[in-house]
Symmetry: C2
Subunit: 347 residues, 2 copies
């Protein structure tokens, strides 16, 4: 163990201050710290990792705000942002992990991280896929799509499914799972390129660019003349309101995210919740944390489909930790095409 | 069969025109028509009834409006209002019903009704209770409370339950079912007399007058310092918004009605639906129609409790068909104390 391991420089993305409303690149800064690449004495049960890929996810904006009672804690201003990533173990004092293991789970937005509680980390077994998939298709967003669609929506063959933010990390898989389940699926996204992806790459039956629609009610009526059985909710606000008007009897809404609302100081009001009653709709919010026990079952289902080319996945890859703030901010204007990943190091 | 049966006068409550916004007594009128008390030739499968008790229910306001795609059709201007009631069969050409049977179900707001499709009528077997209970405790509102609470809310002993419009036809039973299930239950109502009823007659653990609260958030925090597990939603709007802020993780909301919204031209917006996600809340609307197969099971549970005095029920009884418009309008200002019934005839 050479002296050079003891004081390696460690680039980090820092949250400057709590964010109000929308996030800007100036809310973050990149600084260089130092880190020992050996787990400190007395620190049992920790792992020290080199971060390879970091995941940009919409929920992170809520962690940048000072919110109490949220399902995950707010970030700490002055400290590195944390989030999902793929990492390589450099040193471990935890019995489940050893040097050179590849893992995915919560890590820091930095080159190297000391993870004191690795109980929520997953060891990567299948490496015959792009490792970055473990930030998306095979990671938290993939599990989110799987759990939300199958556990909450109980899809039946022939049902109609609408997915908003459909080209995003979660949406693109929801659409493909819906097709594999024999459903009719329509997605919306924020550019014609994304709409093209939905139809021609992910096999959605139809798709539309919500930015080109004057009235979401009219748009949904066009794509679902007989109504929507299942809505996979990623955006909230006015879109949710239009969906409620277009739901069918006994419809199901899995509320996964409300990205259109995160940047607003005052979220939009939804005025037509009476539809929940008249149409007997079940609307359920969920967090993937509650479903990780299904992860082995998920892999068992999804890996063969990936290997057979029946499930595909599009990533928007930003190069280098310095690009992470821009990549994260871009989520909220829809600049990313597909799952937004940051490459910190290839290995 | 005397000639006098052929042309009996029949007082009726007529909807004058579709209602916009709130309902007034002038939206209805009482007129006298005539009816034959014998089922017309060729009208197979019908029953002709004398109406005894009529039920005033909040959902009826929605039927007075011109709404398409609602779960029940709008009323027809110029025709009698219809609704739940208790009736006595005078003549029947339906195999399930015979003269002198007592029934409950959909009938007309009139002295006598020819019911062409009696398939949704229930024959009353147990008459050792006030017959008017079949408009409330033992009828549609009772089944609503039972189905909503047990089928949608899955109550567990020790959980906290909040019921709005708690002294109404449905709410008073929900509270008592919650107590029988070992829950901690708090109700809200619109007068101190009603609050007194909730605490001293129905056995709610606590209750408050929402009209005396400046801020529903503060009120709910006072009664539920650790949050609400189950909300039985009868009012909607600002109250729902405050409840969402005060729900616990994995809370359940049974959306039964939104009476505070029915009189508004533009319903209030609910701005904090993100709580559904962060707290993994399931919010489900329901209509009692879907649960009538449970009616025998419901009676089996609730009748012994009534006979043992463990479940009580308060009715607000208006005398005479002429009083029906005033009684119905009163629901929306909360003038009724307990279930609003109209007596048309005692037998």
């Amino acid at each position: 163990m050479g002296e050079e391991l003891m004081n390696r420089s460690n680039k980090q993305v820092i949250l400057n201050n709590y964010v109000k409303g929308s996030v800007n690149e100036s809310d973050m800064s990149v600084r260089t710290s130092t880190i020992s690449l050996k787990i400190p004495e007395g620190q049992d049960g920790a792992v020290l990792v080199k971060n390879l890929y970091l995941s940009c996810d919409p929920y992170m904006l809520n962690r940048m705000k000072k919110v109490e009672g949220h399902y995950v804690d707010s970030f700490t201003p002055g400290s590195p942002i944390t989030g999902y990533g793929v990492s390589k173990v450099l040193d471990s004092s935890h019995p489940n992990f050893k040097k050179d293991d590849l893992i995915w789970g919560f890590t820091g937005w930095e080159e190297y991280s000391l993870i004191k509680d690795p109980s929520q980390l997953f060891k990567i077994q299948e490496t015959n896929v792009p490792l970055s998939y473990y930030t998306g298709l095979l990671g938290m967003p993939g599990m989110t799509a799987y759990a939300g669609f199958f556990e909450l929506c109980s899809p039946k063959k022939g049902e109609t499914v609408y997915v908003s933010a459909a080209s995003g990390a979660v949406g693109q898989l929801v659409g493909q799972l819906a097709k594999l389940s024999g459903c009719y699926v329509v997605g919306s996204a924020g550019s014609n390129d994304k709409v093209d992806l939905l139809k021609n790459k992910f096999g959605f039956d139809d798709a539309f660019n919500y930015k080109e629609e004057q009235d979401y009610n009219v748009a949904l009526k066009r794509y679902f003349p007989d109504g929507i059985d299942i809505y996979f909710e990623n955006v909230g606000g006015k879109m949710l309101e239009a969906v409620l008007n277009n739901m069918r009897l006994h419809g199901r809404i899995a509320a996964c995210g409300m990205i259109s609302q995160y940047s607003l100081e005052q979220p939009e009001g939804v005025h037509n919740l009476l539809n929940l009653i008249t149409k007997r709709i079940r609307m359920e919010g969920f967090i993937v944390f509650d479903y990780y026990h299904l992860y082995p079952k998920f892999l068992e289902m999804v890996l063969p489909h990936i290997n057979q080319g029946k499930i595909t996945y599009v990533e928007d890859v930003a190069q280098g930790l310095e690009s992470a703030p821009t990549a994260l901010v871009g989520l909220f204007s829809g600049r990313n095409v597909g799952k937004q990943v940051v490459v910190v190091a290839r290995e």
